[in-house]
């Protein structure tokens, strides 16, 4: 249980390879923070700097108000789960989990109590006498989590703990981590490249790219109000559609004109545009696939497009369509909203008409890629 504060943290490898820079973040006590971003964005490096496994080139890291820059990992009172589990192969599951307690010379009864308790929570009691090689991937990851749990440390660090598991196990373990979090009430810092994990686990998400923080916010904030084009496209699956179009102002109302259609901006977004006094201009418009809906040929708001790929996901269709100008869009349509006849007609090359809600679009500056409403 502790706060973590990073101030102007920078990491330089060698002479001039900058991995992380201008990293400023306050993590509250018992908060679950997720670092997310594509590979090479510096998220793992940042985590390793907090753990003490990498030197901090510039700036400070504080845990509970104490600057830990020069402390060894063992003096930082942190626990860490590694992507490749990093279990000690010569020790049994019990001894793996007891390793840190043994180093601290904790009395045998307490070691026994803590390890069995953690094993029970994780459902690995029956494997305590086994060696790691006799366990499956999911079981090994539980042991790795258990090893971190028995420490009762101030901060719990997890470096892509689920990325070595298969998809089904990953979903299961993700749910278990959410449950686990309620049982071990401590500060979590979790690194992942998977936006689904970030959205479902984090109290707040830190989205990174090329060593810079792009946005920090709750899952809802980053989803509803992405600060820039990168965040908009990174968060949400399938990714947000973005395309250049014009914002026009007529009679006090805002309209966008994508691919010849004319769609009115409504609701909160219209008010925000007016507030910010945004004039008619070229913009990059962002529309999430799920905000599209089917339309008809006569509708002035309809965008005609050709179906390229039809992915039937069960409850919904993911349609990859091409507009008249050759842009690719992804449209997500709930299956339940379509008649069987219409659904069957959605084959390669078929023309459909789509439109989208006026209140859910995102406006970005084509030059700076920043959200115009922030």
């Amino acid at each position: 249980m502790a706060t973590v504060k990073l101030t102007n943290v920078k990491k330089i490898y060698g002479k001039d390879t900058v991995a992380v820079q201008d990293f400023n973040l306050d993590i509250a006590d018992k908060e679950f923070i997720v670092f997310v971003g594509p590979s090479g964005c510096g998220k793992s490096t940042t985590l390793r700097m907090i753990a003490g496994l990498e030197d901090i080139s510039e700036g400070t890291v504080e845990i509970d108000g104490v600057v830990v820059n020069d402390l060894q990992p063992r003096d930082r009172d942190i626990a860490m789960v590694f992507q490749n589990y990093a279990l000690y192969p010569h020790l049994t599951v019990f001894e793996n989990m007891a390793f840190s307690l043994r180093l601290k010379k904790v009395p045998q009864e307490i070691v026994y109590e803590k390890v069995t308790q953690a094993a029970e929570i994780l459902g690995i009691t029956e494997y305590l006498t086994r060696k790691p090689r006799a366990l499956s991937g999911g079981q090994r990851q539980r042991v790795a989590i258990g090893r971190a749990m028995v420490r009762d440390s101030k901060v719990f660090l997890m470096d892509e703990p689920l990325s070595n598991l298969d998809a089904k196990l990953r979903n299961q373990m993700r749910a278990e981590i959410i449950l686990l979090r309620q049982k071990i009430d401590t500060t979590f810092i979790y690194v992942t490249h998977d936006q689904t994990e970030a959205m479902t686990l984090g109290d707040r998400i830190v989205i990174m790219k090329d060593g810079f923080i792009q946005q920090v916010g709750t899952p809802t904030e980053v989803f509803d109000m992405p600060l820039n084009l990168f965040v908009a496209e990174f968060i949400g699956a399938p990714k947000m559609n973005t395309f250049k179009t014009d914002l026009v102002c007529e009679g006090g109302k805002y309209y966008v004109t994508p691919y010849g259609a004319k769609i009115e901006v409504s609701g909160k977004k219209a008010a925000m545009l007016a507030d910010k006094k945004v004039g008619a201009r070229e913009i990059v418009l962002g529309v999430r696939p799920e905000h599209f809906k089917m339309s008809t040929a006569g509708d002035p708001a309809a965008i005609p497009c050709t179906i390229k790929v039809n992915e039937m996901m069960g409850s919904e269709l993911h349609l990859h369509v091409e507009t008249a100008t050759g842009d690719r869009l992804i449209v997500r349509i709930p299956t339940v909203s379509l008649d069987d006849e219409v659904r069957h007609s959605m084959v390669y090359g078929a023309t459909i008409y789509v439109t989208f809600e006026g209140k859910v679009m995102h406006f970005f500056d084509p030059e700076t890629e920043q959200n115009l409403l922030v």
Binding site: A51, G52, L53, Q72, P73, R74, I78, A79, M80, F82, Q83, N84, Y85, A86, L87, Y88, P89, H90, F99, S100, L103, K104, K131, P132, R133, A134, L135, G137, R140, R147, R151, L157, N164
Partner: protein, 294 residues
């Protein structure tokens, strides 16, 4: 058309199999011949050592009379026990010290990153390519000043064998490089010091390389002649088996002691063979299974 193709393939397959079998046979015959030639001297020495009817070299292989006379005479007439003891002490001490030096050196070079690491590694690699005897005269001079020659030769020799042993880091460094770094990191986060990581996590996983290093450390002084001969050449008390036997044989008649010499050879081989047989099982077992996702 298709059928013809199939037949061609089939024929080629048969032909390939037959010619492979033929070439394997030839290779095996050659290998067996080489093995016989290679094993013959060892076999011969063992037989000679049990020969009772004569002490000379004879033109036939199997002794007419078997017995332990040569072994008994060896211990009675020479300082063999002394030499053997010296060699054993040097072998064991060198094996222990060298293992400590080499493994610590290799671990440091494998895991720690410090200025000049690459340069140091290259420097040591190049330095290790110079034959040891280049320094022979200088070492003798220094050791004789320090009183580490003759009776004290075993101590001097242990120093010689161990002093530069850290330069033989490359094999064990290669081994340590294959142990995932995340194990060290996990242990360090778990509260271990660098030293605890080394002996609680890395050492238990390194049995094969520890054994290799111990064996190599033991073998070098066990069979050394050149360095030992220089440093202990005047006093029987400080000699190892190789030097002792050579000195003794050069002072007596080969024909009256040939079979005893063979007996000494057999005795020298026994500890090495035993140690190898005892330790080889550790080579077999892979120890890193289940550490990390593989």
């Amino acid at each position: 058309m298709k059928k013809t193709n199939d037949t061609t393939i089939h024929k080629t397959g048969l032909g390939a199999r037959a010619s492979r079998r033929l070439s394997n046979t030839v290779i095996y015959i050659i290998l067996i011949l080489i093995t016989c030639i290679w094993l013959f001297p060892f076999f011969g020495i063992v037989l000679e050592s049990f020969r009772v009817e004569t002490t000379q070299q004879v033109p036939y292989l199997f002794p007419k009379e078997f017995g332990l006379d040569n072994y008994i005479r060896l211990f009675k007439e020479t300082d063999f026990l002394k030499w053997f003891g010296n060699t054993a002490v040097m072998g064991i001490a060198t094996a222990v010290l060298q293992t400590v030096f080499i493994l610590s050196m290799s671990y440091v070079l494998s895991r720690l990153r410090f200025k000049g690491r690459k340069g140091l590694m290259n420097f040591m690699l190049i330095l290790g390519m110079f034959p040891g005897f280049l320094t022979l005269i200088l070492i003798y001079k220094v050791f004789s000043e320090l009183g580490l020659t003759n009776e004290m030769a075993p101590v001097g020799l242990i120093i010689v064998y161990c002093a530069s042993s850290g330069m033989g880091y490359y094999v064990s460094k290669g081994f340590f490089d294959t142990i995932p770094k995340s194990l060290d990191e996990a242990a360090r986060v778990d509260g271990a010091t660098r030293w605890q990581v080394f002996y609680k996590v890395i050492m238990p996983l390194s049995k094969p390389i520890i054994i290799y290093t111990v064996l190599m450390g033991f073998m070098a002084p066990w069979g050394d002649f050149m360095m030992a001969n220089y440093i202990a050449h005047q006093t029987s008390d400080g000699m190892n088996v190789a030097v002792g036997m050579f000195e003794w044989l050069s002072r007596t008649n080969l024909n009256t002691h040939y079979t005893m010499f063979c007996a000494a050879g057999v005795i020298v081989a026994i500890p090495v063979v035993t140690v190898f047989l005892f330790l080889q099982k550790y080579y077999v077992e892979g120890v890193t299974g289940g550490a990390v996702k593989g």
